[in-house]
């Protein structure tokens, strides 16, 4: 610390950094250290075994697969909504805009019971779908997917929206005057400019979805190997007094989630220069 000074004439650096570090280490780093160290107390082999059991692998596959799929679905849906909110003027636009943040504000347990009430075999949506098409949504992986699409969607909308707003409509018009069709303009001009934001939104939606618990457990049915998500497995391990196992699954989730987020970041770094050009 000695000798080095921040490049700013402003006061309060030491204080604010100190408060930040204290807050960060007490609330985040110390507890996560406990999580990172706990699985190894029974030895590396048993920690490895507790995350490679078929049931754990199936849960991780579901959590990560469904979260990736949900985030991938959120991208076109979120782009569509952001597009409409930015480019169109229509009655009720402000309401629709406020509505987008609902999953941020609505408690996940409430979302869970509501979605279950809708998509259960005797629910408002579940019953007609089941009767006419024979589809079952609640208590299958599709139910998990719907809940995850729900929680992730606002992240995509909210990251794309400001970029879209800054992107002048003239760019598209210019492309159009140069003879580009609408689809071409969209593909060549708009999408590349939005790509980094879409990717960020994807990453955020994924991060939120992969750990989601409250809204999923009501609608999932929780069948081991089939619709059991990894966070639920952590809770189950705890109930079996298997602390090391619970921490091992938790740590595996963290590491994998970081892997995905790093990949998203790397992809973004490759996109950036291209998008700026």
């Amino acid at each position: 610390m000695t000798g080095w000074r921040p490049r700013s004439a402003l006061p309060g650096f030491g204080l604010s950094l100190g408060v930040t570090l204290l807050w960060l280490s007490a609330i985040v780093l110390l507890p996560l250290a406990a999580l990172a160290l706990r699985p190894w107390e029974l030895g590396v082999a048993s920690a490895w075994e507790s995350v490679t059991q078929p049931r754990v692998l199936a849960a991780l596959r579901l959590s990560f697969g469904a979260a990736l799929a949900a985030a991938a679905l959120d991208v076109p849906l979120g782009l569509l909504i952001a597009w409409v909110l930015v480019r169109y003027r229509f009655p009720g636009r402000r309401l629709a805009d406020a509505m987008v943040d609902l999953p941020f504000a609505l408690p996940t347990a409430v979302a869970g019971v509501a979605l279950t009430a809708l998509y259960a075999p005797n629910g408002w949506v579940g019953e007609p779908l089941g009767a006419s098409l024979g589809w079952r949504i609640a208590f299958t992986p599709w139910g998990v997917l719907i809940a995850l699409v729900f929680v992730g969607l606002p992240f995509v909308v909210r990251t794309v929206e400001p970029v879209l707003r800054d992107l002048p409509a003239e760019a598209e018009e210019a492309a159009a005057t140069l003879g580009a069709t609408r689809a071409q303009a969209l593909r060549r001009v708009v999408l590349p400019a939005l790509a980094p934001a879409l990717l960020t939104g994807f990453g955020l939606a994924f991060a939120r979805a992969v750990g989601e618990y409250g809204s999923v457990i009501f609608i999932a049915g929780n069948l081991p190997m089939l619709t059991e998500i990894a966070p639920l497995l952590i809770v189950i391990r705890l109930e079996e007094f298997d602390y090391a196992g619970a921490a091992a699954v938790g740590l595996a989730m963290l590491v994998l989630a970081f892997g995905v987020l790093l990949a998203v970041n790397a992809a973004q770094r490759r996109l950036r220069p291209w998008a700026r050009a």
Binding site: L24, I27, M99, L102, L106, V110
Partner: protein
């Protein structure tokens, strides 16, 4: 034509995915009439859950407000080595499953956690009591304020503050006179979201609560309990109260954003 279609599709997605669940909550809550719904909310255990939820949020939100503002200040206004790492660490809790956010406190302060024996020897209780609920909530809502402030404060740069500092203003004076007026609406909307999440958190709180009726049950946990007691109307009534809270939050946030927009418009 394409415009119409896009508009229609977007509204349909919003209606099916967002509006319908909301309608379902209120419809289920009122299925057996207003009196049943109101009775479920006025019942002593429900009231205890409501006041506990308010108390937890009242502690967790200021903690994260203070930390978030401090983090935003040093990240947005200064350059220092390790800054990117710090930003990542501040956002870390977003990527952590709520269940893990509860689990870590049990690993730390539970009877078989690192500090459990020491706490027990001194008669202190953290997990399964108010402190545990607060810690889990603080963890989950940790990044909200910092995240809303950092990009804004970075955009605004540091010229205004530097000018104030050269004119002899102290640190706190600079912050309250110069910075705060620029960020107040964003700050408020960050606090609102932080608060909404704090009141609605389920997974993390469920791991550390102990589920004692009237004592360590927050509102979302109370919803689960009523649901498990076959009191569906009651469960949805409390859920509707939470949903109402969410709607108020959204309304207030939309209002703040309009105010912020007007301010930016006036400035520019």
């Amino acid at each position: 034509m394409a415009r119409r279609l896009a508009l229609l599709a977007a509204l349909l997605v919003l209606a099916v995915l967002f509006l319908l669940p909301l309608v379902a909550v209120f419809a289920e809550a009122l299925r057996r009439g207003w009196d049943v719904a109101l009775a479920a909310i006025a019942e002593p255990d429900a009231l205890a859950a409501i006041s506990l939820t308010l108390l937890v949020a009242a502690i967790a939100v200021p903690v994260n407000l203070l930390g978030g503002v401090a983090a935003a200040w040093c990240i947005a206004k200064f350059d220092f080595p390790g800054k990117r790492l710090l930003v990542t660490l501040v956002e870390l809790p977003f990527a952590v499953s709520p269940v893990i956010s509860g689990l870590v406190w049990v690993l730390l302060f539970g009877a078989h956690g690192w500090l459990g024996p020491w706490l027990q020897a001194h008669g202190l209780r953290i997990v399964f009591a108010l402190p545990g609920l607060v810690l889990a909530t603080v963890f989950v809502t940790f990044p909200f304020v910092a995240r809303t402030l950092i990009p804004l404060m970075q955009d605004q740069g540091r010229e205004e503050e530097e000018a104030a500092a050269t004119l002899g203003a102290g640190g706190l004076q600079t912050f309250f006179r110069v910075t705060l007026p620029n960020i107040r609406w964003a700050l408020l909307s960050g606090v609102l979201l932080c608060n909404a999440r704090a009141m609605g958190e389920f997974g993390a709180v469920s791991v550390v609560s102990g589920h004692v009726r009237g004592q360590t049950n927050t509102m979302p946990l109370h919803v689960e309990i009523l649901y498990n007691e076959y009191q569906f109307a009651g469960a949805f009534a409390v859920a509707a109260l939470l949903a109402l809270l969410a709607l108020v939050t959204l309304g207030a946030k939309a209002l703040l954003e309009r105010l912020a927009g007007r301010q930016a418009g006036a400035a520019g």
